[in-house]
């Protein structure tokens, strides 16, 4: 830890927490604007059907109804994150593609009236054959969900590096397994909500989002409105986890209703709607073939991974790629082939997830352990042997700069006495390890960078303005902490304006793990630029060189004679007198290869840097019921430098719940197109009593480009915790899992039909 830092690296109270513990923090559903109406959506009861006619006339006659809309009131534009994925009208006019899809909507004076009006909307459908299983969907003759995608293949990512077949032939040991995992639910505590207010040609919007600028852009396209007329405003977000990254049908619906009614409209989804009709998470089938040398060196990997994408593209190309990349950023693969298919089915839309890819990642790690065991190597050793080190380049040509993978493996092993425990496994007890690396930001074109504006006000307090978003992880507090460090002004004196498209600049948002590495970097640069101005005046006034000035506790002081000092507010006022107030901007743009494209050119520098992490789970299995408990969980994460260690720990602990314990509890259940657990009772978000003792270890590899050396804070645990649990269960049972989650029925089956090692 840098000892010369005053506040970065300290366990500070988050700036947003006071409003949250007093109940004063406002979320979208808490907003109340004058004359506001309530919006409600009529949803498709069919998984696949042609829309023949939508008749809103009777609904409009219900007293108290002020507007009703369907896709025929929109502009026939389809949104897609990429030019080649523009397939989502948000309110369809051709056909519905999943149960729960938005079809029409009303705005009324209250919810009861709106519900009443929905029952008077008449929609004529012609039902079509539907398909729910991605394997079935890829077959010739399966119902075609989008005309332009043959065999319902939405995205095919093909990566081929080296000579995979040759390397497999020459490998000492080769193993191929298929792993499945149910898609999860984000289950953010805040059900999706939008407030749209259209006035004087301007549309103001509030909704939980992970990037206001991309949201505004999407809506400006969909509504054919100039971008400057669509303003996405700041609001607290009750959790996102990847599920609030993209424009949502509800955004378009609320906007159209407000435009039509000329009044603000609030649309709040029920918990069930949030599950069926906002975003869900891909279920995955991963076939993994691995070749190893006798000494455990991985010589080749060959992958076929099928992602059930639901009805629309969403972030398809990214979702089809990320599990592979976070793995190749962790291990050395001289020869690797990846075929990722994202397949359309008549199910809800699948988006990116903080824990995305568990079948693939846990499958890889569990399979590696089994192969290592056969070779007489333990899991820690084989990970160290194959793990990337600083300066290495990944299979798809990303250079690794700072890298604490080795340290995370070693510390997590030491803390858990891993080698000994792994060797003495019993039928009821196991220990397992999972590793991964995470890109801190990924290529998003001109949106990959961030910039910040800072002004120092007349009493020496500060306002910083940035596009950065907080979905609950503490990004707002983090940048205030960074500004405080640079300017020598306490956090309480710093106001933040963020995530408001009217006043803040472009930012990657909080869905590519870029907030610390990119967003906070921009804030740091802006504050450093402001600092230079303060220091120049202070040096002049105190009669010393600029290099001798320090800033701390609202004072500018001479470093060698700390008694020689003046308040920063004096400096600021002096600047005002000089007609040159202290304002500054700063930007950060990561070193990314912008020629890189997810499908057409899957190589080049993926991100400015990468974080690394190792999780170790200890499990106990009830041999009679198959119920797994996790008494202890250890996670080591290389975040570069923890700006607020308490916040980083919080991310790691949350990840242990959401990825780790979820491995034994969470998964969406389906009956064809019907989601069977769209609630918080049958969808099993772990409770306090289900949590292990948690030991979080922060490793600081000091990234040369990160702000104070920081990278992202905690996501590795979100992508390796399930591996640790799956490996621990494999350690106990001596067999690989076939499908996640590891519910007691599945574990008992594994124990009964133990799968041996094959060559």
């Amino acid at each position: 830890m840098n000892t010369d830092l005053n506040i970065v690296g300290k366990r500070v109270v988050r700036s947003d927490s006071l409003a949250k513990v007093t109940g004063e923090a406002r979320y979208t559903a808490d907003l109340r604007l004058p004359n506001m109406l309530v919006g409600k959506v009529l949803r498709s009861p069919y998984p696949h059907a042609r829309i023949v006619r939508i008749d809103l006339t009777r609904a409009l006659k219900v007293p108290g109804v002020k507007a009703a809309v369907s896709g025929f009131d929109a502009y026939g534009i389809k949104w897609g994150v990429f030019r080649y994925t523009q397939d989502h009208a948000m309110l369809p006019t051709d056909k519905v593609r999943y149960i729960g899809e938005d079809v029409a909507a009303v705005a009324a004076i209250d919810e009861e009236t709106a519900l009443e009006a929905l029952s008077h909307i008449k929609v004529d459908y012609e039902t079509l054959p539907a398909v729910f299983d991605p394997i079935e969907s890829m077959k010739d003759g399966a119902p075609q969900i989008h005309d332009e995608h043959k065999n319902n293949i939405n995205i095919h990512v093909h990566i081929d590096v080296g000579e995979v077949d040759k390397a497999m032939r020459e490998a000492f040991i080769v193993r191929e397994d298929t792993f499945k995992a149910a898609g999860e639910a984000y289950a953010m505590m805040e059900p999706y909500a939008v407030v749209a207010s259209y006035k004087n040609g301007f549309l103001d919007l509030w909704m939980p989002n992970a990037g206001p600028h991309v949201r505004a852009k999407a809506l400006s396209n969909l509504l054919k409105m100039p971008l400057n007329k669509v303003r996405v405003r700041h609001i607290n977000s009750g959790g996102a986890f990847g599920g609030r990254s993209e424009v949502a049908p509800a955004d378009l619906v609320a906007s159209l209703l407000s435009i039509k009614a000329g009044r603000p409209v609030k649309l709040v989804l029920s918990r069930e709607e949030n599950a069926t009709s906002s975003r869900q998470i891909h279920d995955i089938i991963a076939t993994i073939k691995t070749g190893m040398k006798k000494d455990g060196t991985i010589v080749a990997k060959d992958y076929k991974v099928i992602y059930n994408g639901g009805a629309y593209s969403s972030t398809g190309p990214i979702a089809t790629s990320i599990p592979f990349y976070v793995y190749e950023e962790c291990y050395r693969f001289p020869n690797v082939r990846y075929n990722g298919y994202r397949v359309f089915t008549n199910k809800g839309i699948r988006g990116m997830y903080g824990c995305h890819g568990r079948a693939f990642l846990a499958g890889n790690e569990a399979q590696m352990d089994l192969m290592a065991r056969e070779l007489g190597i333990d899991p820690a050793e084989i990970r160290l042997k194959n793990g990337l080190t600083p300066g290495e380049v990944t299979a798809t040509k990303s250079k690794i700069t700072s890298c604490g993978l080795k340290e995370t493996i070693e510390t997590a092993s030491e803390r858990t006495d891993f080698k000994k425990q792994w060797a003495k496994r019993s039928r009821n007890k196991g220990i397992g390890m999972g590793c991964v690396a995470i890109m801190c930001g990924f290529p998003m074109g001109f949106r990959s960078g961030s910039s910040c504006y800072v002004k120092i006000n007349d009493d020496g307090q500060v306002t910083i303005v940035t596009g950065l978003v907080d979905n609950g992880q503490g990004n707002e507090s983090m940048v205030i902490q960074v500004a405080s460090e640079v300017l020598g002004i306490p956090m309480g004196d710093i106001n933040l304006v963020c995530a408001d498209t009217e006043v803040t600049n472009l930012d990657p948002g909080s869905y590519s793990q870029a907030a610390a590495f990119v967003g906070a970097n921009a804030v740091k640069v802006a504050c450093e630029n402001a600092r230079k101005r303060i220091v120049a005046i202070a040096a002049e006034k105190l009669g010393v060189a600029e290099t001798d000035i320090g800033l701390k506790d609202r004072m500018a002081y001479v470093v060698k004679e700390p008694d020689k000092k003046m308040p920063i507010s004096w400096v600021v006022r002096e600047a005002f007198f000089r007609g040159d107030p202290i304002v500054a901007t700063g930007s950060f743009f990561p070193n990314i290869d912008f020629e890189r494209e997810w499908v057409s050119r899957p190589w080049g520098q993926m991100a400015g840097t990468f974080s690394f992490g190792t999780s170790v789970a200890e499990v106990t299995i009830d041999p009679e019921t198959g119920k797994v408990t996790i008494p202890r969980f250890t996670a080591a994460h290389d975040c570069g430098c923890p700006i607020n260690p308490m916040a980083v720990e919080g991310q790691m602990e949350g990840s242990i719940l959401q990825a780790g314990v979820a491995t034994i509890t969470e998964g969406n259940l389906w009956d064809k197109g019907h989601l069977l657990n769209p609630d918080l009772l049958e969808y099993k978000v772990p409770l306090a009593c289900d949590m292990p003792e948690m030991d979080t270890i922060i490793v600081s590899s000091r990234d040369p480009a990160g702000p104070f050396g920081a990278k992202e804070g905690g996501l590795t645990v979100r992508m390796n915790a399930y591996s640790a649990v799956a490996c621990a269960v494999a350690n106990a049972t001596g067999a690989l899992f076939e499908e996640l989650p590891l519910t007691p029925d599945r574990v008992l089956k594994i124990m009964e039909t133990k799968k041996g090692v094959k060559k």
Partner: protein, 315 residues
């Protein structure tokens, strides 16, 4: 999620409740803690013209002992009942089932009467009106088929009270007061075995009290669930033992709990009981966990519960 329209009445006496029920011609629902009823109303699984709140009836809130019987008012909360020294001392199976019910906060609201008379559940039933309309109405919703089992003739919804199986092992009776007067019946007799209408309770009858013979028992409650709080049982087994005889009750599978009486506690009888319970259990795919597994767990839980009673007396 907003509730549908209904009128609300708080009554001070059981007679008052019954009179109101009569006034609404049966289109009324009694409400105690509401933790089961309110979600049903929100999902439009029940559409009464009126909700008759029983919480104002003081006589339903007491626990008394009379002539060797513990009389528990139906409105005693699960939390208060759990913390009653007699329950802890005499009825360990019940203590454990109360402790395992839902979560602490809901134990403070939910009542023992309401817990017993909770509706049966199914993963295809406890859903919004929109969801169920899309899926098609099943038997329990007044439809013509079961959405879980193809060509089924009956409803397989599960009775998920944690406490009724424990109470049955304690030979509990329930007192019901209705339009035709008062009656006291064995708890296990109030189940129809039909998931569509799981109780033999007459329309308008109020469950007023639970009566348990006041003798010391040894007992255990075993519950299988994914999370250790909040979850309903996927299958559960209660055992209470006194004087060398044991009563075993299985819940969570199908619309009625099933009672098994063991007269001699020997290894063979225990195994036979587990086998019989296993054979009787007919779980279907209407929970988050597979039916075959739940069936298998019936005998596992029975054996485990009995083993625990014999070993630790349920303490």
């Amino acid at each position: 999620m907003i509730l549908p329209q209904f009128e609300y009445h708080k009554v001070q006496s059981v007679a008052g409740a019954i009179a109101l029920y009569r006034k609404y011609k049966g289109k009324a629902r009694y409400c105690a803690g509401g933790t089961d009823l309110i979600p049903l109303l929100k999902q439009r699984l029940s559409a009464p013209a009126a909700v008759i709140d029983l919480k104002g009836i003081d006589e339903l809130k007491t626990i008394t002992r009379r002539k060797g019987v513990l009389i528990i008012g139906a409105n005693v909360t699960l939390f208060d009942l759990k913390n009653d020294p007699i329950v802890r001392e005499h009825f360990p199976a019940l203590f454990q089932s109360l402790d395992a019910t839902s979560c602490e906060t809901l134990q403070m609201r939910g009542t023992i009467g309401g817990n017993i008379l909770q509706d049966t559940r199914c993963i295809q039933y406890n859903k919004s009106l929109e969801w169920r309309t899309s899926r098609g109405f099943c038997f329990k919703m007044g439809g013509k088929a079961c959405n879980v089992v193809l060509n089924a003739q009956a409803c397989f919804s599960n009775y998920c009270s944690d406490n009724a199986p424990a109470l049955i092992t304690l030979s509990a009776k329930v007192r019901l007061k209705g339009l035709k007067g008062e009656r006291t019946v064995d708890l296990e007799k109030i189940f129809s075995g039909n998931g569509k209408a799981p109780f033999t309770v007459e329309p308008g009858e109020v469950l007023t009290a639970i009566l348990i013979p006041l003798k010391k028992t040894e007992g255990v409650y075993e519950k299988l669930r994914v999370r250790d709080s909040m979850d309903y049982p996927l299958v559960d087994a209660a055992v209470s033992m006194a004087g060398g005889k044991a009563r075993v009750c299985i819940g969570g599978i199908g619309p009625a709990p099933r009672l098994y009486v063991i007269k001699n506690m020997d290894e063979n009888t225990i195994r036979d009981t587990a086998d019989k319970a296993y054979a009787d259990a007919k779980p279907v795919a209407n929970t988050t966990i597979s039916a075959a597994y739940r069936k298998k767990m019936v005998s596992t839980l029975v054996k485990r519960a009995i083993k625990r009673v014999l070993k630790e007396g349920g303490r």
